[in-house]
Each structure stands twice: as C-alpha cells, then as structure tokens.
C-alpha cells in the first residue's frame, strides 16, 4: 500500500481524490457566495459562522489549503514527467483530431486558476487572517467596539467588485476554471477506475457542473459590480 503513490496509476488516483475534494468545496463556496445576491443578512451570518467556527477554521481550512497545494504541485510534477517522456516532438501533429483542447491544456487552465487564487487570497483570505489573528478582532463587525455597526463581510465583498479590472480578471479566471472542469470532472472518475454505464450518464451532469458553478461565480461578481 505504501508504494501506491510512487506509481503512475497511484499518483493519478491521488490527483483525482484531491480534485473531488476541491469540486465539493466549490459547491459549498458558491452556495454561500450566492446568498449575497438575495440576502445581506444571510450572507453575513454564514460568513461569520465559517470565519469563526473552530472546526471550519482549525480543521477544514488547513485540509483545504493542503488539498489545493497538493493538487497544483502534483499537477506540475506529472506534467514535467509527461514532457520528459517525449524528447523529440513531431514535425506535424494534428492533436485536435483526436482530443479536446481542454484535455490537452489542463496545465495552462490550471496555471491561470492558480494565478487567480493568488489574487483571491490577497483579496479575502490574507485580509481576513490579518483582522482575526494579527489584530485579534474576531467580532466580524464593521466597528469592533460597536455591536450596532453590523457585520462587515457583505460590504467588503461588494467593495471588491467595484473595480471593473478585478471583475474582468474574475470572469476570465472562471471561464478558464470552467474549461479545466470540463475535462477534469470526468477525468477524475476515470482515474479512480469508474467508467461504466452509471458514470457515462454523469457526463451530462458534468457539463452542467463545469459550466454552471463558474457561471454562478461570474454572475455574483458581475451582479455586485453593477448594483454597487
């Protein structure tokens, strides 16, 4: 069992497991974000819960960070090995005739998503960590000394999407995430050995997921930009 992750099959299995975890996380993330479209109060309450719950902060958040880092590092490691397995390329290669653009460019789409995550972490995560763990303010209030000031999360979210440049970056990044998922969703099932009549019927769902989840993220950013 210990040697499983040293093999090509085992590494792909690990890659798929981290992908499943991240895909579940995306559903949770977009569900919470989407509440900001119709209820400021619900979004604030859910954000405060996620930001202060010890289980979420102490256990789920570190697992998420490890999952994200693992997925990206393993992706680059596998790509480097794959590149090394062909030392001389073809003078003419018509790859578009036998495979999709998405399947051949997972590193490119993944790298764009990674670059986006750096911006996203700078926008929200580092900001949150600084307030909570550097400044020691766990209240989540606009004014920590004034209980009537209300939670700050909704206002901070809308503030981020005032900039059209930031919204454009979000839109482009989520389009690339969609392309990444359009191959990655089914690929993860194949890597864990699931390829039968039940999984084949998942293909329709995978398209809904891969286009729908990023589209919701885009909608949220655009909605707040135009309603601010």
């Amino acid at each position: 069992m210990s040697g499983i992750f040293k093999s090509s099959v085992g590494r792909k299995f690990a890659m798929a497991l981290s992908a499943f975890f991240l895909m579940i996380f995306l559903v949770m993330h977009v569900s919470i974000n989407f509440t900001s479209v119709f209820s400021e109060e619900l979004f604030n309450n859910m954000s405060h819960f996620m930001g202060t719950n010890p289980l979420v902060q102490g256990l789920m958040q570190p697992i998420l960070i490890v999952g994200v880092v693992f997925h990206f590092v393993m992706g680059f490691v596998l790509e480097a090995k794959n590149k090394a397995s062909r030392d001389v390329g073809y003078a003419k290669n018509v790859a578009k005739d036998n495979s999709t653009w998405m399947s051949r460019n997972m590193l490119l789409t993944g790298a764009v998503v990674l670059a986006f995550l750096v911006l996203h972490f700078y926008d929200f995560w580092i900001h949150e960590m600084t307030i909570k763990y550097v400044q020691g303010d766990m209240s989540g209030l606009v004014d920590a000394n004034n209980a009537e000031s209300g939670f700050r999360y909704y206002d901070e979210l809308r503030e981020k999407f005032v900039s059209p440049v930031r919204v454009l970056i979000y839109v482009v990044s989520f389009v690339l995430l969609s392309l990444h998922l359009l191959h990655g969703f089914n690929s993860a099932f194949q890597s864990v050995g699931a390829n039968n009549k039940y999984v084949k019927s998942l293909k329709g769902f995978s398209k809904v997921y891969s286009i729908g989840i990023p589209a919701l993220f885009i909608f949220i950013a655009v909605y707040h930009h135009f309603t601010h």
């Binding site: 397995s85 051949r104 890597s191």
Partner: protein, 249 residues
C-alpha cells in the same frame, strides 16, 4: 495517378541526429496501399544508388501491429481504426504534401529512419501479461469453464490489441496505459486470469513506469487512434485492478 511531396524523417541510427528530407514521387495510383507507395519510392532510391527509407512492416493486413508510421500528424494516418498498411492512397489528393515520421516517445527510441524499438512493450508483457497453466496432462479444458458473455466479449475486445504503439505515439504524454490496460483486462475478465491478477497488474504497471512512459491524463487520443478501437474502459478497469491489488498489499 498522383504526384506527391513526401517529407520523411531520415536518421542513420539511434546515435545520430535525424532530419526531415523531401522526396517528390510521381505516378502513384490511388489504389496503392501507403506502404506500396513507400515501396515505389524505395525502388527509385535504390535505382539511383541512394539509401532506401527504412520502415517496419510484416503482414500488411492490419494484424501484426508492425507498421508504425505517424502520417500527416496522425498515428497510422488520417483514417480511423486501421493500421498504416491498410491505408490507401485514395485518402490523399494529387499534389499533397505528406509528413511521415516515426512514433515519438522516449520509451520507443528510433533505430533507423521510421523504425523504432518497441521492446519496452515486450518487457511489460513479460512482467505479467500471461497466465501460468499446468501442462502436466490434467489441464482443465478452458471451454468447460462457464464465462458470462459480457465478460467474454470484453476480454476478446481487449485481446484484439496488436501492440502497435499508436496509443503511445498519439498521446501527448507518451503514455502506454491503453496498451497495458488491454493486456491486463484480457486476463482480468476471465477466470483463468484471475489467479494471478494481483501480481500481474502490479508488475506490469511497475515495468511500464520503469520504461519511462508518461502518465495518462485521459485525453482519449489513444482510443481515437487505436486501429483496433480498444476502449478507455480498459484503463479504468486497470486503475481499479491496481488500486485493489495495492490495498491487498
């Protein structure tokens, strides 16, 4: 009759660098096979005292898996589910330029011109692509063992793999997963193969990795270019077999 320009990879041996060389050919019949067209070119080269183009071929009827040409950017050429020897010149037009290259993979080093060394496939097969049979005289008749038709059909489909290497050649990662998974599947689906199933998949995957093939990223190019239409289902089955075998230790 067609006049063509061939752009062919020429390489003296494994140690020297190769390059694409242009060869005009004329009077090519659309009814010729692709290999017959190369025979015509070689005859002309020999008559001019030049070195003929080395390429692999044997049965010339799509069975042996020996021919291994990357033609105009596709393994075995533009048509699907055929080998290069089954490709006919009617697939091309008069005046066409045709690129002819060897399979490209570190695990398939070029021997000469269009010939590559595919002995890495042999070593993978030797690592576990067989069943041990008691030949002392009391061997059970294979036909006496009932096998579910679905399994028998899938095992047979997997067994049609001719080991040509088109899967490796067309995969952007030079992965041999489709070949290895076909060999694993043809035994894993049958009771005779299940006795050694654990060792087989572990040893074959280990050998595959040691040979330097890349990782499968499920692009599906191998399935599209496979002359026998070996399904990606086999790769999923091998993944299951491998993960189950790993858990058994």
């Amino acid at each position: 009759m067609m006049n063509l320009t061939l752009k062919i990879w020429r390489q003296k041996n494994a140690n020297e660098k190769g390059k694409i060389v242009d060869y005009p050919v004329s009077g090519i019949s659309p009814d010729m096979s692709f290999l017959e067209m190369l025979d015509v070119l070689n005859q002309e080269l020999i008559e001019k005292g030049k070195e003929p183009v080395a390429f692999d071929h044997d049965c010339r009827e799509g069975i042996c898996g020996t021919c291994s040409l990357y033609i105009n950017g596709r393994a075995h050429g533009p048509a699907t589910k055929i080998t290069a020897c089954q490709l006919h010149m009617r697939s091309f037009k008069d005046g066409d330029t045709i690129y002819i290259e060897p399979w490209r993979a570190k695990a398939f080093p070029v021997v000469k011109d269009l010939i590559v060394d595919r002995s890495s496939f042999d070593r993978i097969q030797q690592a576990g692509g067989f069943i041990s049979v008691n030949t002392s005289g009391n061997t059970q008749d294979a036909n006496a063992i009932p096998i579910e038709k679905e399994h028998a059909d899938k095992a047979f489909d997997a067994a049609t793999c001719i080991g040509c290497g088109a899967c490796v050649a067309s995969c952007k990662n030079s992965s041999a997963m489709l070949f290895v998974s076909a060999k694993v599947s043809q035994f894993a689906l049958l009771p005779q193969g299940q006795v050694e199933a654990t060792d087989r998949v572990m040893n074959m995957v280990k050998q595959m990795d040691e040979e330097g093939f890349g990782n499968c990223t499920n692009t599906g190019a191998c399935e599209v270019e496979c002359p026998k239409g070996i399904s990606l289902e086999n790769i999923a089955r091998m993944n299951r077999e491998y993960l189950t075998a790993s858990l058994k230790g």
